[in-house]
């Protein structure tokens, strides 16, 4: 399928959800001066952020070449769920406060696709709720991936050290495992 500019109504729906989860105005800041485009493949719609001056040439028919990806991959929409790409997390981490900082040991386990247990957590905001997706960072603020909280942030103190705090959704170890 060829890339298409995202329909404004669809974009609003998506970004409203996004802002709800990651903070008001985050999707606008993420988009910056780029344009959102999609490529549909089966039941999945991939979203990309591309420089505006690419838009004109995107919709040209290209029979000999299939556009596989372009610009910054934002994520994939499948069955109503938006899965964020690893590539967008660096920029998102600068814009949102939905963050979870883990210890060195926690970071290593996480990049081997493990989930995060209480003893690895260095910092988690107490107002975050169970189910919230959070960007996982190491002590140096480097982005390791994305996790879904399995407890409310304010319950963290009461958890035993081996209890699950964040379920691994995606981590940068995928770059090695996939290659």
């Amino acid at each position: 399928m060829k890339p298409e500019l995202v329909d404004p109504v669809e974009w609003k729906e998506l970004t409203d959800q996004f802002d709800n989860e990651f903070g008001y105005g985050v999707s606008k800041a993420l988009l910056g001066d780029r344009a959102p485009v999609t490529i549909s493949r089966g039941d999945t719609k991939s979203f990309y952020l591309v420089p505006r001056d690419w838009v004109g040439s995107l919709e040209e028919e290209r029979t000999d070449f299939e556009v596989y990806s372009l610009g910054i991959r934002m994520g994939d929409l499948k069955e109503g769920k938006f899965r964020l790409s690893l590539q967008i997390l660096d920029a998102l981490a600068e814009l949102t406060d939905k963050l979870l900082v883990v210890s060195q040991q926690g970071a290593e386990a996480f990049t081997y696709s493990r989930s995060i247990i209480k003893e690895s957590v260095i910092k988690l905001d107490s107002h975050l709720k169970r189910g919230q997706r959070v960007i996982v960072l190491n002590k140096d603020g480097e982005v390791l991936g994305l996790a879904a909280l399995s407890v409310d942030g304010n319950r963290l103190k009461r958890l035993a050290s081996d209890r699950l705090v964040g379920k691994n959704l995606v981590d940068i170890g995928a770059y090695l495992r996939g290659a």
């Binding site: 952020l49 420089p51 690419w54 040439s57 040209e60 290209r62 029979t63 000999d64 070449f65 299939e66 556009v67 596989y68 990806s69 372009l70 610009g71 910054i72 991959r73 790409s85 690893l86 590539q87 660096d90 970071a107 990049t111 480097e142 940068i172 170890g173 995928a174 770059y175 090695l176 996939g178 290659a179």
Partner: protein, 321 residues
Amino acid sequence: MANRQLRQKAKELAKATGYLPYMIERYLALWGEKETIQFIEACEEQITTSVRVNSLKIDAEALRTRLHIKQVTLKPVEWLDEGFWAEFEGSPGSLFEHMLGYYYVQGVPSMTVTKVLDPHPGETVIDVAAAPGGKTTHIAQLMENTGTVIAIDEDRQRIKSLESNIQRCGVSNAIILRGDAKKLDRLGHTPDRILLDSPCSGEGLIPLDPSRKTSTSMADIRFCATREDQLLEAAVNALPSGGTMVYSTCSIAPEENEYIVDEILHRHPDMRIVAIPLEFGSPGYSQPYGVELNESMTLTRRFLPHLHGTEGFFICKLEKE
């Protein structure tokens, strides 16, 4: 050496060293006995690992400091600001800094190819045979993530690695296209530069993969040469006047390198080989096996295991009038 003598010598050497006789025959005809033996010996030596610092994510000094803590020493490659010889304790790809996209494990000849292409910020550059993206990500870094890099490959599996490397390295100015680059002239983009890092026989990779001593036949080399000719022809046709192009292979075979470029110069009088303003390697051959080729072939460069301690590579920079 007379033909019969050469054949006999090749047979003996091939038997003693585990190569196919036709390969040694060609080496003897190309280099003579002394250099052939030097080549064979060099192919038994390990090639030093090298990495390219990804300036889109970190600067060289910061990476050097971080890797130093992990007992990795980096030594600069003279002609490449971003290139380093590296000594790792374990696998160079398994470090955290690699996952973070701070460096790309890449052979020095490969890094040199992109440096020779010399892409500038804001340009449109086509990387014709791009997967897994070593050169695409380098191009993007030299363009500081501006302009457009069009990365083409026809292999579905390899394109996944290309996308993964693009994401890991934080590249945001690339368009990945899947398709047959022989149809490049139908792409409808006007590039400032084109890189054709062509699929080849890999005859330069013997030091990295000893199975190549016996895995490729002369027919395979001919097959590769035909494909190289077709891809280079398509690339030349897609290059606008005033445009720059680099043709490279990881093969040491003149049949895949100087011969291919010579044919192109015959068919396209508006194309010329230009000098490479970097100090590395040694000149390409204008008379391989005694065959007279365009004199300017000496402006091309070769990396050879026995002369430069790297895998074998061929790099040619061309311009269209």
